[in-house]
C-alpha cells in the first residue's frame, strides 16, 4: 500500500517535471501577462478614449514593426545602437577599472574620488548632453561621451568597494601561503571582489542604456533607435514610436535576463550566496 502511494507520487512528480520542462512556469506567466496587456491595450483603443492617431491598435503597431524590420530601419538602428552601447560600455569598463585600481593604490585619492564619484553616479545622464554637444558636437563621439560619463562611475565605485571589502582573512591566508603582489591581486583579490564587480557592471550597463537612448534622441546623427524615436515624434507617427519602444524594451530585457542574470546566478551559486545557513 505504502509503496504504491510512493510510486504514484513518483509518477506524478515525474510527469510534473516533464510538463515543467515543456511549459516553464515563468514562461507561462510571462505569456499570460503579455496577453492581458495586449487585451487591455486593445480595449482602450476600441473605447476611443484617445484619438486613433494618438493610440494605434496593437495590430497596427505589429504591422509597423514588420515594415520597419523589412525596410531595415529597425535592423540598422538596432545595430548602430548596440555598437555604441558596446563601445561605450567597453570604454567605461576599462576606464572604471583602471581608476578604481588607482583609488585602491592611493588611499587619499580613493577617499576623495569616491565621494566625487558618488555624486556623479547619481547625476542625470541627460544633463550631460548640452555639455557634450558644445564640447564635442553632433556626432558619435558626443554620444559615446554621454554614455561613458553616465556609467563609468558605477564601474569605478564597484571596483573600489569590491576590492576594499575583500575579507581580510582571505588576504591573510593567501599571504601566509606565500602569495604577494600580482599573484595576490590576480588570484585572490579579483576573484574575491567579483560578485561586487558583476553587480556594479550590471548597474553600469543599465545606466549606459538609459543614457544612450537619450543621447541618440538629442544628439542627432541620423541613425540609431533613439533617432528613430525622435523621427517618429517629428512626423507624429505613434506606431513607429511604440514599435521602437518595444524593441528598446526587448533589448534591455534580453541583456539583463540572459547576460547579467546568468553570470550573477552562476557566481551566487558557486559562492553559495543564496543559501540560508541551516547549521
Amino acid at each position: 500500500m505504502e509503496t504504491q502511494i510512493k510510486s504514484n507520487s513518483k509518477k506524478v512528480s515525474l510527469s510534473h517535471k516533464i510538463v515543467n520542462k515543456i511549459i516553464n512556469k515563468d514562461t507561462l506567466s510571462l505569456v499570460i501577462f503579455i496577453g492581458v496587456f495586449l487585451a487591455v491595450w486593445q480595449l482602450v483603443y476600441m473605447s476611443e478614449f484617445f484619438p486613433k492617431i494618438s493610440l494605434p491598435s496593437p495590430l497596427a503597431v505589429g504591422q509597423t514593426i514588420i515594415e520597419l524590420v523589412l525596410d531595415f530601419t529597425l535592423v540598422k538602428g538596432t545595430a548602430f545602437t548596440l555598437w555604441r552601447l558596446f563601445l561605450g560600455f567597453l570604454i567605461s569598463l576599462t576606464l572604471g577599472l583602471i581608476i578604481g585600481l588607482f583609488m585602491i593604490k592611493f588611499q587619499q585619492f580613493g577617499k576623495t574620488m569616491s565621494s566625487f564619484a558618488v555624486g556623479l553616479q547619481s547625476f542625470p545622464s541627460i544633463a550631460w548632453i548640452p555639455f557634450a554637444i558644445l564640447l564635442i558636437g553632433f556626432n558619435d563621439s558626443g554620444i559615446l561621451f554621454v554614455v561613458v560619463m553616465s556609467c563609468v562611475f558605477s564601474v569605478m565605485l564597484s571596483t573600489y568597494s569590491g576590492l576594499r571589502n575583500v575579507p581580510p582573512i582571505y588576504i591573510r591566508a593567501a599571504r601566509n601561503m606565500g602569495a604577494k603582489g600580482f599573484t595576490l591581486f590576480r588570484y585572490v583579490l579579483i576573484p574575491a571582489a567579483t560578485p561586487t564587480l558583476i553587480m556594479g557592471m550590471r548597474q553600469a550597463w543599465s545606466f549606459a542604456w538609459h543614457a544612450l537612448i537619450g543621447a541618440e534622441m538629442l544628439i542627432t546623427t541620423l541613425v540609431g533607435l533613439g533617432y528613430i524615436l525622435s523621427v517618429g515624434r517629428e512626423f507624429s507617427n505613434m506606431s513607429q514610436i511604440i514599435a521602437t519602444m518595444i524593441v528598446i524594451f526587448t533589448i534591455g530585457l534580453i541583456f539583463d535576463r540572459v547576460v547579467f542574470i546568468k553570470i550573477e546566478e552562476k557566481i551566487r551559486d558557486r559562492w553559495g550566496l543564496d543559501q540560508q545557513k541551516i547549521d
Binding site: 591573510r172 601561503m177 606565500g178 559562492w271 553559495g272 543559501q275
Partner: protein, 262 residues
C-alpha cells in the same frame, strides 16, 4: 629584564623558542595597551603545544606574532635558531573560521597553495589529490566550499596547510565553531596525522578538554599578568587520555588555575 631560563632541561633540540616576547598596541589616546609581557616558551621538534586561556589573554596575538602577521614586538622568536621575520609558508596558520576561498572547489583550494609554491601542474594535482585523501575528503574534491559542513571545511584547511609542508602548524581555535561529536573525530584525525607527519603544532584554544586531550604540554595564559601562568606537561599517552583518571585531575587543576584570578 628577566633573565631567560629553561623551564626544564631540554632532552631534544629546541625548535621554536620565544624569548621575553612582549607586545603592546599603541592606542589612540596615546596610552599604550600591553597584551603580552615576557613570554618565554621552548618548543621541541614534533611537539604539540596547546595554549589555553580565556579571551583577551593574548593567545591569538602570540600566534599572530609567530606567524609573522605583526612584525613589531619586543623580545625574540627563533625558529631553528633563526629569528622569525615576516609571513612565511613555513609557519602556516589555520583559523577558527574557514579561510578557504569560496570561488574555488575543495580540490582547487588545496591546489592553490601548491600553485603559489610554484609546484608544477601535474605534480600539484597529484599532491592536492593526495592531501584531500589524507583528510578523507576525496569524494568532495569538486564541491564548492559552501557545500561542505563546518568539519569538512576545517579538514580542507588542514589539507591545504599540510600540502605546503610547513615547519610548524599554528592553529587558532580551529575547532571552536564545531559541535562536540565532530570535534572528537577531528581530534583523533589530527593526532593520527601528527603521528604520521611529526609536525610541530602550536594549538590555541579556550577549551580545557581540548587542550588536555591534544597537548604534550599545556600552557595556561592569563590576561592579568599578560603572560604564562603555568605550564603542564602531560605524560599520559594520547590514545589513553579519553578515560584516564589522572587526566580528570589535571583538568580540575587547570580549571582552578584558569578561574583563580589571584
Amino acid at each position: 629584564m628577566m633573565k631567560f631560563k629553561y623551564q626544564s632541561s631540554p632532552p631534544q633540540k629546541v625548535f621554536l623558542s620565544l624569548k621575553n616576547v612582549s607586545k603592546k598596541y599603541a592606542q589612540q589616546n596615546s596610552e599604550s595597551n600591553t597584551v603580552l609581557e615576557n613570554i618565554n616558551i621552548q618548543i621541541l621538534d614534533g611537539e604539540i603545544i596547546t595554549i589555553l586561556g580565556k579571551s583577551g589573554c593574548g593567545k591569538s596575538t602570540l600566534l599572530n606574532l609567530i606567524a609573522g602577521f605583526e612584525n613589531s614586538f619586543g623580545g625574540e622568536i627563533l625558529l631553528n635558531e633563526k629569528p622569525v621575520k615576516d609571513i612565511s609558508p613555513e609557519r602556516i596558520m589555520m583559523f577558527q573560521e574557514s579561510a578557504l576561498f569560496p570561488w574555488l572547489t575543495a580540490f582547487q583550494n588545496v591546489e592553490f597553495a601548491l600553485k603559489i609554491a610554484k609546484v608544477p601542474k601535474n605534480q600539484r594535482e597529484k599532491q592536492a589529490k593526495n592531501y584531500l585523501k589524507i583528510v578523507g575528503l576525496s569524494d568532495y574534491s569538486n564541491s564548492y566550499i559552501h557545500q561542505l559542513s563546518g568539519g569538512m571545511k576545517q579538514r580542507v584547511s588542514l589539507a591545504r596547510a599540510l600540502s605546503l609542508n610547513p615547519k610548524i602548524l599554528l592553529m587558532d581555535e580551529p575547532f571552536a565553531a564545531l559541535d562536540i561529536t565532530i570535534k572528537k573525530t577531528l581530534y583523533k584525525e589530527l593526532l593520527n596525522l601528527h603521528k604520521k607527519t611529526r609536525k610541530t603544532i602550536l594549538f590555541v584554544t579556550h577549551n580545557i578538554n581540548e587542550a588536555v586531550l591534544l597537548g604534550d604540554r599545556v600552557i595556561v595564559m592569563s590576561p592579568r599578568i599578560y603572560g604564562i601562568k603555568k605550564e603542564y606537561a602531560i605524560d599520559i599517552p594520547k590514545d589513553q587520555r579519553d578515560d584516564d583518571l589522572s587526566i580528570k585531575n589535571i583538568i580540575n587543576q587547570i580549571t582552578a588555575d584558569l578561574y583563580d584570578n589571584a
